[in-house]
Symmetry: C2
Subunit: 215 residues, 2 copies
């Protein structure tokens, strides 16, 4: 029996939101992973310079043991797309685990999955979770029943290791962590609240309207 | 003036080796990033379940300010491909920075780029660096002149933040780190040498012939 894992991708996805968890979860024995788009074919990332292949259209996938929903600026279009939200709801009804990374939580929110739950997302979008009936919390990973939300972008790696542990146990999860040599040595403090004013100004330029929403 | 960054991709690439650095470096202002393959078109990752688009064939790219060479089991085929090694050498002659992640270092080595240098790679492949005239060291990031090698998979994120700092300064690099919310909280110790015997046995199964080479 394989564990079927579906990654939803779309134009404007943040690639690392998906690929971090992908290269963790794909190391769990007996997984079968599929990248799913509204239609089959290449989806361009947030910057446009990277193309990821959706090997299946959502009409071809009607269940998954694990659903992973990444974020990226393109999530706004996904939230306006009733068919995609309906697909997320339908797959969620079949999963053992429904997960999001970064602003993928807003897609889960728009699909109604986060109603009444605590959840997290990228720090710049955190307050938006309230509009979907969720309570934003500042943890890096939030597990509520079968729903796991992760903070921004790189938090997807930590979320997927957490999930690997829940599914396959400590030894397998640690082997995966050692296999991807995840012994992080970040050069700076990565927390927005503690950043200097010049760094916050640069983030404003980098994230544009996203930051304005959160101010 | 934009900073032209070329990512070499190939069938059997480890996706996170490339996408970690990509989603860091793409946040440096005025970068132009291209994924380059031996030919244009989809390259399948190590597991086969992910397709990345090479938007340019190597014959279409004759220079880069930064070259990033990821690893993955497919690197063995690249090392047997004289045209690809020649392309790496030719691009290296034009770069400000030539970098590798994980076993991408073996490709740089086979292209002659690491001769006489200290370098790193995935822990399971470290000793192989000697066959290319390089001296393996156990640091996560090794900078030697314009050549930067990173340890396994996830080390590419740290390498790219280090490089962002060298190119654009501390504030931009920290803004990128905060932007991808890189405040890692790994659940386990990620260092092979300190792992338990059961975890090492699982890694043997996971990495197969790679591990045998390193024993």
């Amino acid at each position: 029996m394989s564990l079927d894992i579906a990654f939803l991708i779309f134009d404007g996805v943040m690639a690392l939101d998906a690929i971090g968890p992908y290269d963790v979860l794909s190391n769990i024995p007996n997984t079968s992973i599929t990248f799913v788009g509204e239609t089959r074919g290449l989806k361009r990332n947030q910057r446009g310079s990277l193309g990821l292949s959706a090997d299946r259209a959502m009409t071809e996938v009607d269940r998954a043991d694990i659903l992973v929903v990444p974020g990226g600026f393109g999530e706004e279009e996904v939230r306006k797309n009733p068919a995609m939200l309906e697909w997320v709801r339908a797959i969620h009804a079949t999963t053992q685990w429904t997960t999001s990374v970064c602003t993928g939580a807003l897609i889960l929110g728009a699909a109604g999955v986060l109603k009444g739950l605590e959840a997290t997302t990228h720090w710049a979008a955190r307050e938006q979770l309230r509009s979907f009936g969720a309570t934003p919390v500042t943890q890096r990973i939030v597990e509520q029943g079968k729903v796991i939300t992760a903070a921004g972008v790189s938090a997807g790696i930590d979320m997927a290791l957490h999930l690997s542990r829940r599914i396959a146990g400590d030894e397998v999860a640690q082997a995966i962590q050692v296999g991807i040599e995840y012994d992080p040595q970040p050069p700076f403090d990565g927390v927005y609240e503690r950043a200097s004013a010049p760094v916050k100004t640069l983030l404003q330029q980098m994230l544009g309207h996203r930051m304005q929403m959160s101010q």
